[in-house]
Symmetry: C2
Subunit: 428 residues, 2 copies
């Protein structure tokens, strides 16, 4: 990419990053007013380029995989690092889907006349420059660049050093797409150096970067949000709950509790703790416990749970706080919805929590009182996802309260400003 | 207030603040689900209490004013510190107006069926615990407490030490209102100690405080946002512009440019720099310059301006960046709207900027491209205000891009979570 040839990054990381920042800021002004068609054409051109260059991408990826193997990276990491035909196809399809989404930029809402005679409304606007810091998965390069471009932002990407060849190859396709449609190439820049100091610069360049989106493990995100002086859209972790109320429909409860745990183990919206009302536990847990055990899920229960499922391990205090991301589930019996809500408030991570109940009063209360980014009734926590919610794609799931909560799609990458229309109006 | 009697704040600020935080967090859960009528009744009871206790408030305020006089506080500060009958009336009226505003909490929007069969929508929810740090103006106590309460948040208030007696007296009225309506008294707490270490604790109690709103001068706000580890809704400063396009209506231009500067000098939405298209400057500036000079406004111009208004001072590069908050105005001639937009991007503070033009193409471009929290056409920048915008009241004007931009009313003190309604739905 452009930045590589011009700088000896190792020598002067600060100067290099300042230059990246300055150019991103300049590109942001142009991209913020780009027409929707231009942005969509660029996305389609990128998608085509990624498919055309799939051989190059696979070669580059092989270099990363070989290096990773030599360094003894674990299998999970190597799996995330790997590109193959279907993953390349998914990248280009992702870009095409983003092209199909409505353009959020410039949307005017709530434009109303005020008593003074002025009209006041809101216009949706890009955030400006977005810094994306991510680990291993090279497909993030395409997803993130696509979402930021469509939402009118300039992007600075910083991928993991283990994926550097793959990321460069994907970035070259993105650049080619921008070039073909005459959008500024600086609208998407990838940091060329793998020096960690570049991250330190990126998260403190207040004058050039408006928001940081880290994508990766909890430790990466914690480190970045501790050190950043720029706002960070955080996705920390998901300790998600399903609460089976004593007014639950038994079949729905079993189906949802099983799906929320076992449909995928490694995702943030997977249930980690099952809460069951005492009144219904005896009717639900024996069958459900058997299903889990057949699926290879290790169960850890409170004392009351273990009276119903005598064979299982005892859950410790630590278990209630834990995001296993693995075939392990903690189970606790509670008196009622109130106790379930209290448990979630204390141990949960404000990600996604679901109640199974046929009682509308109880459902309304749970919806209102559980303070999580997604709160559900009679549905699996696994639905907490940008695609499932109709946001089209997501750059992450925010567990913050300010700005964006839950799946962050195009709208989460924008802000709103006030617009005022008058006809010579002055303040009295 | 409650906190005072229980603690020797001077001895253990950390322990004291932790206790304040813990109690705020507990109160936040209760206040977040309080019924609208309960919150409104509390606001009305507070208003009545403030009027009933106006004598007490004036006595307490006299103590602060006397102390301020003895310490030699300047007149502007003493003016901000002063309570009088009309300011007390304004406080209670403010609370009554907040009671009349619609309750934002629990509002559900965009509830739609998805292809999977689940319904996905958004519910507006309180932020949790809000820390307000403010200087001198004691009326902020009532405004801030009222807005936070109506939006379902618990509040921790920290006023300036120069207003401590006034703030305590107002806080007692607020407490009395909460007590009369059986809402938790901890929903509004005032920090009793004037020790600065308490602020340091407040802005770092991540587990107990969700957002900090500093209200005061730029230096206070910069210090707090530099040191805070909790998100801050910032209002830094307003370097606001009016751009008079060459297609402007002359009368509107003169009226707006005069009003934007002179209607009040000390407010953040006052124009600080006037930009005039070269093609119209000769027709506008002579008359307008005379009006400013009659009003006692000191003018500082670029060279081209000084050829039209020869008597005025020369503006320095520094002037274009300056928020005067005083009867001083810098004036610059520009070629066209594009150059005006560039000037605003470089020197402005992204607060409020207005164009005067009859040309709709030019107006549309200005609205879209100027990246400020309020962008106006043919209206005075002085309209950038929560009341004028119909937000009811404001806790400040945010110059941030994330979360809240522009005047921050009830909505800016809330967030949205996703809600999902199913009927036993699981993810395939």
């Amino acid at each position: 990419m452009k930045t590589a040839s011009r700088h000896t990054a190792d020598v002067d990381i600060h100067g290099y990053m300042q230059d990246v920042g300055r150019r991103a800021r300049a590109a942001a002004r142009i991209i913020s007013r780009a027409e929707t068609a231009a942005k969509n054409n660029a996305l389609l051109a990128m998608a085509a380029e990624i498919e055309r260059e799939s051989g190059t991408l696979l070669d580059a990826n092989k270099m990363d995989l070989d290096a990773g193997n030599n360094q003894g990276l674990d299998d999970a990491l190597l799996d995330r690092l790997e590109l193959n035909d279907s993953r390349i196809k998914a990248m280009s399809e992702g870009l095409r889907q983003i092209a199909l989404l409505p353009d959020p930029v410039g949307e005017i809402t709530d434009l109303n006349y005020r008593p003074s005679g002025i009209q006041v409304g809101r216009m949706r606007v890009p955030l400006g420059v977005i810094g994306i810091i991510f680990e291993s998965r090279p497909n993030v390069t395409a997803d993130a660049a696509g979402l930021c471009l469509k939402s009118g932002n300039a992007t600075i990407l910083r991928g993991g050093s283990e994926a550097i060849h793959s990321n460069r190859a994907i970035a070259a396709c993105i650049q080619s797409g921008l070039k073909q449609t005459r959008l500024p190439e600086d609208a998407v820049q990838m940091i060329e150096t793998t020096d960690r100091a570049a991250v330190g610069e990126l998260i403190r360049m207040k004058e050039f970067v408006d928001v940081i989106v880290p994508r990766g493990g909890k430790s990466l995100i914690e480190r970045i949000s501790d050190e950043a002086t720029i706002p960070v859209i955080k996705h920390l972790h998901g300790v998600c709950h399903v609460y089976i109320d004593d007014k639950a429909d038994r079949d729905k409860a079993v189906k949802i509790a099983f799906n929320a745990k076992t449909q995928r183990y490694g995702t943030c919206n997977t249930m980690e703790t099952l809460l069951v009302a005492q009144g219904i536990a005896g009717k639900i847990l024996p069958a459900l416990g058997e299903m889990y055990q057949e699926a290879g899920v290790e169960l850890r229960g409170c004392e009351a749970t273990r009276r119903i499922l005598p064979g299982i391990k005892s859950a410790t205090e630590e278990d209630w706080y834990t995001e296993y991301l693995a075939p392990i589930l903690s189970i606790r019996l509670v008196k009622n919805a109130e106790e379930a809500i209290d448990h979630i408030a204390k141990y949960g991570s404000a990600h996604t929590d679901s109640i199974v109940t046929e009682d509308i009063t109880c459902a309304r209360r749970f919806l209102r009182e559980v303070d999580s980014s997604s709160v559900m009734v009679n549905a699996s926590t696994r639905f907490a996802d940008g695609f499932e919610y109709g946001l089209g794609a997501e750059i992450g799931i925010s567990t913050d309260k300010l700005h964006a909560r839950g799946p962050v799609g195009l709208e989460g990458l924008t802000s709103v400003k006030f617009i005022v229309l008058g006809d010579g109006h002055i303040r009295k």
